[in-house]
């Protein structure tokens, strides 16, 4: 197995194009597990960590552009104000060691429906910047997930950055696991409120073959929220929102949990996260 360590983005794209089947590696927290268990033997690894520009984030107008090797720890410590939803999710990933190495781009690359980055990225309408020697394109997050562990990435493409609109209102995230930390989500949920646009975003994890929105729940909430008042969240609104979120799920039974439990838990998380977000909004 070759180990390719490009120091520029162009070299990385070149390597990706010229070595079919080469596996990009960022934090390696998914890649190394697969290699250690001998699940596959790629012809080469392309280590992205020596490419300086990928290791940074910048505020670009109203959006934050997160380089492909920015770690969860950096997201937590530096981006909690701009991207509270993503930072909350990042806090629940693995352990400190995993958060120091792991990246949101790696989470996208792996494409697991249980990845913790997906719900907040979905709820905020992020864009994935991908590129190859053929050129660059911007993939809306909704179009990025194409199947179980399958994504819109072409074989010669790399993720360069993720662009996420800076928060304009409260964002929340909740995750249910089989213990209190170091755990892959049984299911997870994110909600983002944008009071200026009167917009609502949601994201469901481990609830279907791919991470997904609860579109009906979003639509319902846009009309049902008493945006102009500072009253507490009406109970029936929370209830209905929970039901619509649960209805958007098509979960499965697996070793971590049962489908019925997942559906139930999603409605609970939806109600709760909305409650927290609304409290933040009305008290602001």
């Amino acid at each position: 197995m070759d180990f390719i360590k490009p120091t520029t983005w162009e070299e990385a794209l070149e390597a990706r194009a010229s070595v079919p089947g080469a596996v990009p590696i960022a934090g390696g927290t998914d890649v190394m597990v697969e290699l250690n268990f001998d699940q596959h033997r790629p012809p080469a690894l392309i280590d992205l960590t020596a490419i300086d520009e990928l290791a940074h984030w910048d505020l670009d107008g109203d959006s934050v552009r997160i380089g492909a090797t920015v770690s969860y720890t950096t997201i937590i410590t530096e981006l909690a104000n701009h991207l509270p939803g993503l930072a909350l999710a990042a806090r629940t990933v693995g352990s400190p060691q995993i958060r120091n190495r792991g990246t949101a781009a790696g989470n996208l690359g792996a494409g697991s429906p249980a990845g913790d980055s997906h719900p907040p990225l979905l709820s905020t309408g992020a864009t994935v910047e991908v590129a190859s020697v053929r050129g660059s394109r911007f993939v809306p997050i909704d179009e990025f997930y194409t199947g179980v562990k399958r994504t819109a990435l072409e074989p010669d493409e790399l993720i360069r950055a993720i662009t996420v609109p800076a928060a304009r209102g409260p964002q929340q995230f909740a995750k249910i696991g089989t213990r209190n930390a170091m755990v892959i989500a049984v299911c997870s949920f994110a909600v983002a409120l944008d009071p200026h646009e009167r917009a609502v975003g949601t994201g469901l994890g481990s609830a279907a073959p791919t991470p997904r929105h609860a579109t009906d729940a979003e639509k319902y909430l846009v009309d049902a929220l008493p945006w102009d008042s500072s009253e507490p969240l009406p109970g029936d609104v929370a209830e209905r929102f929970g039901e619509l979120v649960a209805a958007a799920a098509v979960p499965i039974d697996d070793v971590r949990g049962q489908a019925t439990y997942r559906t139930h838990a999603l409605s609970v998380m939806a109600r709760r996260t909305l409650g927290w977000a609304w409290e933040e909004y009305r008290c602001a």
């Binding site: 249910i176 213990r179 209190n180 930390a181 170091m182 070793v255 049962q258 439990y261």
Partner: protein, 763 residues
């Protein structure tokens, strides 16, 4: 300064923290081959064909072993000999060994395994213990009657073993009862999951096997390996490197006999190390249990009689301690509360699943879980307070346990009283909030009585070396605890007491690190040897100091005349003098716990008959339940534990914390699921061990009720803290949600189901 009673720093701690310790899995020998075991993919099958001829010709392959290379039958503790090293004509569990290969590299060994031709004709697997006991269930061991047993045991067909206790007039008591309460409880398999997997390196020289293995019980590995291979125990030498955890999982042979056979056949050292997946799929966990209890109570809450049936899943053979410990379940059920009339039947049942074995506390955790949930049920029926019913029936001075053994003091009551000062019950009851719950559980436990021995010598420099086969399982008992005992006995510095690594060629017999016995049993044996060494030292010193031995004192590495500290002679000088006069100073000692009197007539099939150096415990937990998600959060945990005498209080606290956390794992998370005979949870992502974030603050109070025959009064301390944990958590969760949970683990899903059921019955 004396060492006993002080928090002497763990002598093996620094090396373990720095990573310089060489564990069993780090050990290898020059030129060692890699061994791998081919295992059955089916839980039950006839072996139609097993052909190794192609595999034998593959590159790098040095030896292949199959059933013909291991002619013996054996069983844990030699109790019931139904285990062969390789499946012979029939496969009895998924994971049973079919063949083993030694090759130059791991890849070559794996390629050879893949090239062994295996044809299995599937049989109908018998998976459910209740079903296994029904008439007409397929016999898992058709030849069961031919197996050798250590004592005649009640058994038949798929009932591998049965032990019974019957005392008093049970039927009459049920006639008189004010209420009769009945329950059934089901519990899961729990895996020991030591960080270090099983590992063995064997070589064969001049007709003897030498195997390095991180085992808790070297003499058992020696005897069991010899029996399976059909050689004498003394033909096998077991040496134990540092052990990376065991929790009962390393009491028995796992890889050692395979490594030995392959070493003999290849003429080279052979090293085998399990992967985590092999650990979870093939290394024997705590058995799943079913406990059925039926109790007759009086109006005032007195237990009049109890009937109990314990079904323990032996798995496919008796290579683990499940048979040997069958009676422990009954003893535990009847030794915390007065059960004047009792009938307990403990059935160990064959199933086509991986064999089960000892895990810290053996069947105690699920027996106590059942008993305590059941008591809460009784309390509900009678409208009685949960603590009151426990105190009312609590065993105390003058009472007898279910085996007729007399209780040695009011210590269980004292533990409950101490707990009351830490967590006042009424106050907690009064301040209860919705979906918060708490519970209190007393328990009596035992110290393993087994034999130990040691030899001790005074070195030329005045230091002391103890040779023993006692193993340092990670509790600190050998690395630190027993050295504290010897240091004080001979008046030397703790660091000047050295203990040899366990080696069956040089160390005397020792029953291994189990049942909290190391400080107690091995420590006593060392003290016995130390007495004789001390006498020899004093004899030599008496001559040198021209004083009578009884006027001499040992302190600070020298002997002085009492009251005249200047008239002294150092131990180095004594050692030198001795080697030129009376001979080098060396002695050996041994220990086995003295017999207790009990009513032997009330038991049949009991291999564990009584409580040695009984210990007394009370645990309390406060939990919070999320009624929407079912999640249980343990807010606070409290332990009161009688240890006899605390040789090293801090190390005991470490054992208590570890035991509680392991118990929380059992109560809430861990579940080694077996579906269709196959282990589902073969990795640590789906097998959920508790971690720091799951651990509540644990408050500890240590009580000291000295044991007359313990070393300086000490009793076993390390095993018991796991025993009542699942019971406390189960009872506390039931208190929080107002509904019982009769299965372990108490998962969020189970909690929601219990809540739903309760909602339905309320509606």
């Amino acid at each position: 300064m004396t060492a006993v009673g002080r928090n002497v720093r763990r002598a093996d701690g620094e090396g373990k923290v720095r990573g310089s310790v060489r564990y069993g899995m780090d050990y290898t020998e020059l030129g060692a081959l890699t061994g791998k075991v081919l295992r059955s993919s089916l839980p039950a099958a006839r072996i139609a064909r097993l052909d190794t001829s192609t595999a034998a010709t593959m590159p790098g392959v040095r030896a292949i072993a199959t059933a013909t290379d291991a002619p013996g039958l054996s069983g844990m503790f030699f109790v019931l000999k139904d285990q062969s090293l390789f499946a012979r004509d029939e496969v009895r569990y998924a994971g049973e060994a079919l063949a083993a290969v030694a090759a130059d590299t791991e890849a070559q060994a794996e390629a050879a395994l893949a090239a062994i031709e295996v044809v299995l004709d599937p049989l109908d697997p018998v998976l459910d213990p209740d079903h296994a006991l029904t008439d007409g269930a397929r016999l898992i061991h058709p030849d069961w009657e031919s197996y050798e047993t250590i004592v005649p045991g009640p058994r038949s067909g798929n009932l591998a073993w049965e032990s019974r206790i019957e005392r008093g007039d049970v039927d009459a008591a049920f006639q008189e009862a004010y209420r009769v309460v009945e329950d059934e409880f089901r519990t899961q398999r729990q895996h020991q999951n030591s960080i270090e997997p099983h590992a063995a390196v064997a070589r064969y020289e001049e007709g003897r096997y030498t195997v390095h293995t991180p085992t808790q019980f070297p003499f058992n590995v020696r005897g069991r390996t010899a029996e399976l291979l059909g050689v004498r125990p003394s033909d096998v030498r077991v040496v134990v490197p540092a052990i990376g955890g065991g929790f009962g999982g390393k009491l028995d042979i796992m890889l050692e006999p395979f490594a030995c056979v392959l070493a003999r056949k290849s003429g080279r050292p052979v090293r085998i190390v399990n992967t985590r997946s092999e650990e979870l799929r093939t290394c024997a966990p705590r058995e799943g249990g079913i406990v059925r209890l039926r109790t007759a109570v009086a109006r005032d809450g007195s237990i009049l009689a109890q009937e109990g049936e314990i079904i323990a899943d032996n798995g496919a053979n008796s290579s683990g301690e499940t048979v040997a410990c069958a009676n422990a379940a009954s003893l535990v059920l009847g030794s915390t509360y007065r059960v004047p009339n009792a009938r307990y039947v403990s059935k160990v049942v064959y199933t086509n699943t991986p064999p089960t074995a000892a895990f810290r506390g053996v069947n105690g955790p699920y027996s106590v879980f059942a008993q305590e949930m059941h008591l809460d049920h009784i309390a509900r029926e009678l409208g009685m307070d949960r603590r009151d019913i426990r105190l009312h029936n609590l065993i105390g001075s003058g009472d007898v346990m279910v085996n007729g053994q007399e209780v040695d003091g009011p210590f269980l009551r004292e533990a409950m009283d101490e707990l009351e000062t830490m967590r006042p019950w009424q106050q907690l009851q009064a301040s209860k909030r919705p979906y918060r719950g708490h519970a209190i559980v007393p328990v009596t436990w035992l110290t393993n009585s087994g034999a130990g021995s040691a030899s001790m010598k005074l070195n030329e420099d005045g230091t002391v070396t103890v040779a023993s086969a006692a193993t340092e399982i990670g509790s600190g008992a050998v690395a630190t605890g027993v050295r504290q005992l010897v240091a004080d006995q001979l008046g030397v510095d703790f660091h000047d007491v050295l203990v040899t690594p366990p080696d069956t060629d040089t160390g005397g017999y020792d029953l291994g690190a189990q049942g909290s016995r190391t400080t107690f049993g091995a420590g006593n044996a060392m003290i016995d040897a130390g007495k004789k060494v001390r006498e020899q030292i004093l004899d030599v010193a008496a001559n040198l100091l021209e004083a009578a031995p009884e006027d001499l004192e040992l302190a600070d590495g020298s002997v002085h005349v009492q009251g005249v500290p200047d008239r002294r002679v150092g131990l180095a000088a004594i050692s030198a003098t001795a080697s030129m006069t009376s001979g080098p100073i060396i002695a050996s000692g041994g220990f086995v716990a003295p017999p207790e009197s009990f009513d032997g007539g009330c038991m049949t099939g009991a291999l564990l008959t009584h409580f040695t150096a009984a210990t007394y415990h009370a645990h309390h937990a406060e939990v919070e339940v999320d009624p929407d998600t079912g999640r249980v959060t343990v807010l606070r945990y409290t332990v009161v534990q009688d240890v006899g005498r605390a040789i090293n209080p801090q190390m005991i606290e470490g054992q208590i914390q570890g035991g509680v956390v392991q118990g929380l794992g059992y109560a809430l998370y861990e579940n080694l699921r077996v579906h269709g005979g196959e282990v589902v949870d073969d990795n640590l992502e789906s097998y959920r061990l508790p971690i720091a974030a799951d651990t509540p603050p644990i408050d500890i109070s240590i009580l000291e009720n000295p044991c007359p025959y313990g070393p300086l009064g000490a009793k076993g301390a390390a095993e018991p803290p796991i025993v009542p944990v699942a019971a406390v958590i189960g009872c506390a969760v039931a208190d929080a949600i107002g509904a019982p949970v009769n299965e372990l683990p108490v998962t969020p899903f189970a909690v929601l189901q219990a809540l739903r059921k309760q909602g339905e019955s309320a509606a």
